[in-house]
């Protein structure tokens, strides 16, 4: 595959670039090169090779920057970019999103990915640009909270598909019931970064909204779910389908978790269908678009803005281009920069621009408006997490908005404690599938890499209990060993060996890779969880049956790379993260301490009950007294003595529940579910505004 990629780009170069010489100085430059002794290349020779690099070319070479570093990830990234776009489009148009995703194998290591949404559709002339040109989009030039922000993603996916399979991107889009659907087959011209339309003589096809149209689509094999409006993207690409960590399934599940207003239908390459129903009919509020805050603008950007502005005076430029700049603030900035408010902004010299930049930093400007970022909200987080992760205690905290580099952002954290780890919830079939698909070399590696919250120690524990060698290849297991492994996984106590599962989100998009490089993971590790009753080695993730969900919403999320996998560690962001983590940590601590106390009380009573029998017997042996009567009396004293915290005294001496703390006692944002041994999962027993009960909507899996 690598070879093919290189071949294509070299062909391009020869065909269109013309003059460029591929090898070291040779041919015509020979003479010149030899006359200048020992000089390897002359300025002229170098100049002949210096030319503009197209964005598309750059990213074609550096596809790992966009998340296409390996076939497995490429498949995921393609789905992810399409789904992110679909959700953005729906929300922007105020439509409750419903997304259909279909992955079909079309050959060895080849898949066709179809993603359709019920969004507003795209007007005809924009379609080729959106899907066939890198860095084209509505999101880069504005500051508004959205999933996509660069305008690279979906066109890069199309480019990858084209480069690996030669197949164009296919788009069907429809904007209203009685309007025709537009059908395009597009490929990107990497050299020039422009779309090439392949069908309808370079103009696309219009499919009328009637029976004829439907028949036409069927005949041409154009897939389309009948909707009044929406968009469907089809990309064929070279990829690898594998379940487990970092898979399409995981991405969709996590997306559903952070987007409770979205319904997702998914069909995997084997034809299994999964659906995630929405938990709420309410769209998140529409995030406002804001102008940049003066504090967030760098000098270079400021210079560019000055050059391009249409404002006639400097004061007006400041007021119109930035948020939170009033007349008086503009006045003060100008004064500090020793510039006239009436100067022509386009004529500012470099020195003057720098003075302006310094003046902005020195002037006191109000923090940016924060109604442009919307959190998921504590209540929805609790509900969503409860839906996805069966546990006994949930807590959530949403921080008030804060600002980094002039960009507003919000951090929110939700936590689930208890319940069975993901590996123990897996079905036998799914387990067999995972075993068959894995490319892990050893069983231990397979366990640790496939399942969330599985530390190396938990993997070792399982293998030890199952009496299987650590180094065995997963594919070499025989029937008996597989049975044993599965049984052990279900039965072994993984409570201690489990590490915290951290689910990271940026603008409601799950981040699946580069956990170590991400500010979220780093801050979780730096937080002292021992204070809240969890075990934690220094500088590591805490252990325990904990799932942590961290969401950062911002008008501009600072990713460490274009593939948007990790969040950069700005001190302001880390500070907010820390405060949010501490907030849920405190709630967890309260719960755990209380639970511990309940267990302690139970133990205490058990202890007394045990000893009372012995004491009664001993006493009755020494002095004539009825043993049973004495025992009864002692038990009744014991009841009174231990009944301080709990009034229920159960016959079998089992620990009895303490009266539940209400959410208010925790300071809000918690959900306590009956412990798992109460058998029936008690749906959402929170006293706090969760009365709108949804029927249980666990993702259903139908073969």
């Amino acid at each position: 595959m690598e070879a093919k990629w290189v071949a294509v780009s070299q062909e391009d170069r020869k065909g269109k670039g013309g003059s460029a010489n591929a090898g070291p100085p040779s041919n015509g430059d020979n003479k010149l090169a030899s006359s200048v002794s020992k000089m390897r290349a002359t300025a002229q020779a170098l100049a002949a090779k210096q030319r503009e690099i197209s964005v598309s070319e750059f990213f074609a070479k550096n596809r790992h920057l966009l998340g296409f570093d390996n076939p497995r990830k490429a498949l995921l990234t393609t789905v992810k970019e399409a789904v992110d776009n679909a959700l953005d489009a729906c929300e922007e148009a105020g439509i409750l999103p419903e997304v259909w995703i279909q992955i079909q194998p079309t050959g060895e290591n080849r898949f066709r990915v179809d993603v359709q949404d019920n969004g507003p559709g795209i007007v005809k002339k924009q379609i080729p640009l959106i899907f066939g040109k890198l860095l084209y989009g509505s999101k880069f030039h504005r500051l508004r909270m959205s999933r996509g922000q660069q305008g690279i993603g979906i066109s890069a996916a199309g480019m990858y598909g084209l480069l690996t399979t030669g197949k164009p991107v296919k788009i069907v889009s429809k904007i209203a019931r009685d309007k025709p659907a537009h059908y395009y087959e597009i490929q990107i011209d990497t050299k020039r970064n422009v779309p090439e339309i392949l069908n309808g003589r370079g103009d696309g096809e219009d499919i009328p909204p009637n029976e004829t149209g439907r028949q036409y689509m069927e005949k041409r094999g154009i897939a389309w779910i009948e909707l009044e409006h929406g968009t469907r993207v089809t990309i064929e690409l070279e990829g690898r389908y594998q379940r487990g960590r970092g898979s399409v399934e995981e991405y969709l599940e996590l997306t559903a978790l952070a987007n409770p207003h979205v319904t997702i239908h998914y069909q995997d390459p084997e034809g299994h269908q999964t659906s995630y129903q929405r938990l709420t009919e309410q769209l998140p509020p529409e995030p406002k678009e804001i102008k940049p805050h003066p504090y967030g603008v760098e000098l270079g950007v400021l210079v560019a803005m000055l050059r391009e502005t249409e404002a006639t005076t400097l004061a007006r430029f400041l007021k119109e281009s930035f948020s939170r700049v009033s007349d008086s603030v503009a006045q003060r900035i100008c004064e500090a920069a020793k510039l006239s408010g009436r100067a022509n902004p386009r004529r500012l010299s470099r020195q003057e621009a720098e003075a302006l930049y310094q003046a902005i930093q020195q002037t006191k400007i109000p923090a940016p408006a924060t109604d442009c970022v919307w959190p998921i909200g504590e209540q929805l987080l609790l509900r969503a997490l409860h839906q996805m992760v069966p546990a006994e205690f949930y807590a959530a905290a949403t921080r008030p908005p804060a600002v980094y580099r002039g960009n507003p952002f919000i951090v929110e954290v939700a936590l689930a404690y208890g319940g069975t780890p993901p590996i123990q919830r897996i079905s036998r079939e799914a387990f067999e599938d995972l075993l068959a698909e894995t490319d892990a070399r050893t069983l231990r590696q397979f366990l640790a890499a496939t399942f969330d919250g599985m530390g190396a120690s938990a993997a070792d524990k399982i293998l030890h209990e199952a009496q299987l060698p650590r180094r065995i290849m997963p594919s070499n297991l025989d029937e008996d060993q597989r049975n044993r492994l599965y049984e052990t996984i279900r039965n072994v106590n993984l409570f201690e060996g489990q590490t915290m599962t951290v689910l990271r989100y940026a603008n409601r998009v799950p981040l699946l890779f580069q956990a170590g490089a991400c500010a979220i993971t780093q801050t979780v590790m730096q937080t002292n969880w021992r204070l809240y009753g969890l075990e934690q080695a220094r500088g590591a993730l805490p252990t325990g049956p904990v799932t942590l969900m961290v969401h950062i919403a911002s008008v501009w999320v600072p990713f460490t790379s274009e593939s948007k996998e990790a969040i950069a560690a700005y001190p302001e962001i880390q500070r907010e993260l820390r405060l949010a983590l501490q907030a849920v940590g405190r709630k967890l601590g309260m719960y755990l301490r209380r639970r511990q106390r309940a267990a302690h009380e139970g133990q205490r009573r058990n202890l007394f009950l045990r000893y009372l029998g012995e004491v009664a017997t001993a006493v009755s042996m020494i002095t004539p007294v009825d043993r049973e009567k004495l025992y009864e009396k002692l038990v009744s004293v014991a009841k009174r003595k231990t009944a301080q915290a709990d009034l229920e005294f159960d016959e079998h001496g089992r620990p009895v529940e303490l009266p539940q703390l209400t959410a208010q006692d925790y300071g809000g944002g918690v959900l306590v579910v009956d412990p798992p041994d109460a058998q029936q999962p008690n749906p959402l027993a929170s006293p706090e505004g969760l009365e709108t009960q949804q029927p249980a909507q666990t993702p259903s899996r139908q073969p």
Partner: protein
């Protein structure tokens, strides 16, 4: 189920303690009062408690007038409904029931026997009544102080330790024992030496020589020291068990025999002497019946290394524990005498300890033929 049968066996006897011999009846009534306290508390709906006299150094007082250690009046209240005390509360009552059983049946057993008698799995739990013998031993000591009864009165004995030879004839459980005809092994001193068990028949001895351990005792016995000097020769195998101490006490008081001790020159030797003389911290409640304030410390003394001209190779350097213990002992009020302070100081200054066997380096029988007779003759001892 063994518990049930034991109970029914017992009930026949329990009903009428007046059938028991007088000494046992007294102990038994005390046991019953203890049990009644639990019953009363339960009936009143109170938390049953035991006030166990504190067996700690802070509750020990040295009575300079009597020259013995005595227990103070401090008690530790033990609650049944306290997490940390519930188990030992139960254990104390179990031991009480065990003792009641032994008394009712007129039998005796060892500490270990008691441990096995009472050890069983608690009903409905995976817990044993006693995990280790130490637990039942400690419960027994608690019971002793609670009832102000001796271990022997609870029908318990320790294993025999210590031996005796000498010019005395006694009766042990009806058998006449002539301690001058005990061969090389000597008469093994039982742990119960109360007048009911042992009576003195005839005594020609003039004094008692108590040595620390068996090896030294053998040297003296082999050399027939007791025959030459008309004495009784005992050893207690290190820290003398209560049987040995009680027998020394009885011989000292009833036969008016002075007691001389020949022990190692180290903090432990000093402490053995003080236990014989004033009583031990742990068993202070028994000092009354065991301590011999007139006992004398014959040796070894810190000065002996030079005085006897011992070779340097017999010295054993003091380690940190030894030094600490020596300083601790120096602070005990019953070692406050000037001579004793001087002795301990000299030990510390020497920086080494001496075992009695070190005298063998002079001559095998140096200790029996020269050292001890000379000390006795010169009345060179510590008091």
């Amino acid at each position: 189920m063994a518990k049930r049968t034991a109970k029914s066996e017992l009930e026949q006897v329990v009903v009428n303690p007046s059938r028991l011999p007088p000494a046992d009846r007294r102990t038994f009534e005390r046991l019953q009062r203890l049990a009644e306290r639990v019953v009363t508390a339960a009936e009143l709906g109170r938390d049953p408690v035991l006030d166990v006299p504190a067996r700690t150094l802070s509750n020990i007082q040295y009575n300079p007038k009597k020259g013995i250690l005595q227990m103070g009046s401090a008690t530790n209240r033990r609650h049944l409904f306290n997490l940390n005390q519930a188990r030992s509360f139960m254990q104390t009552l179990l031991v009480a029931s065990g003792a009641a059983r032994l008394i009712a049946q007129g039998k005796t057993t060892s500490l270990r026997g008691m441990y096995y008698l009472l050890k069983h799995t608690i009903e409905g739990a995976r817990e044993e009544t006693f995990d280790e013998q130490e637990e039942s031993d400690s419960a027994i000591e608690d019971l002793e102080v609670l009832l102000n009864a001796l271990r022997e009165e609870l029908h318990l004995y320790a294993k025999n330790a210590g031996a005796m030879v000498g010019e005395i004839v006694l009766v042990d459980s009806g058998d006449v024992i002539d301690c001058s005809r005990m061969g090389s092994g000597g008469y093994s001193i039982p742990s119960i030496v109360e007048p009911e068990v042992i009576q003195f028949r005839k005594c020609n001895a003039k004094f008692i020589l108590h040595v620390e351990k068996d090896t030294v005792w053998r040297r003296f016995n082999e050399d027939k020291f007791w025959k030459k000097h008309h004495c009784i020769l005992t050893h207690g195998g290190g820290q003398p068990p209560r049987g040995v101490r009680r027998l020394l006490y009885r011989m000292h008081h009833e036969l008016k025999l002075p007691v001389y001790c020949l022990l190692d020159n180290d903090p432990w030797g000093y402490y053995i002497y003080s236990v014989i003389k004033q009583g031990s911290i742990n068993l202070a409640y028994e000092s009354q019946r065991m301590a011999i304030p007139a006992a004398r410390f014959l040796g070894l003394r810190a000065k002996d290394y030079e005085q006897c001209g011992l070779s340097p190779s017999v010295r054993i350097a003091l380690n940190e524990t030894d030094r600490r213990r020596a300083k601790q002992i120096a602070k005990y009020p019953w070692f406050a005498k000037k001579e004793w302070q001087k002795e301990i100081k000299q030990l510390l200054d020497n920086g080494f300890k001496l075992e009695v066997e070190a005298l063998i380096s002079k001559d095998i029988s140096y200790v029996t033929e020269e050292y001890t007779p000379k000390r006795l003759r010169d009345r060179d001892w510590l008091d």
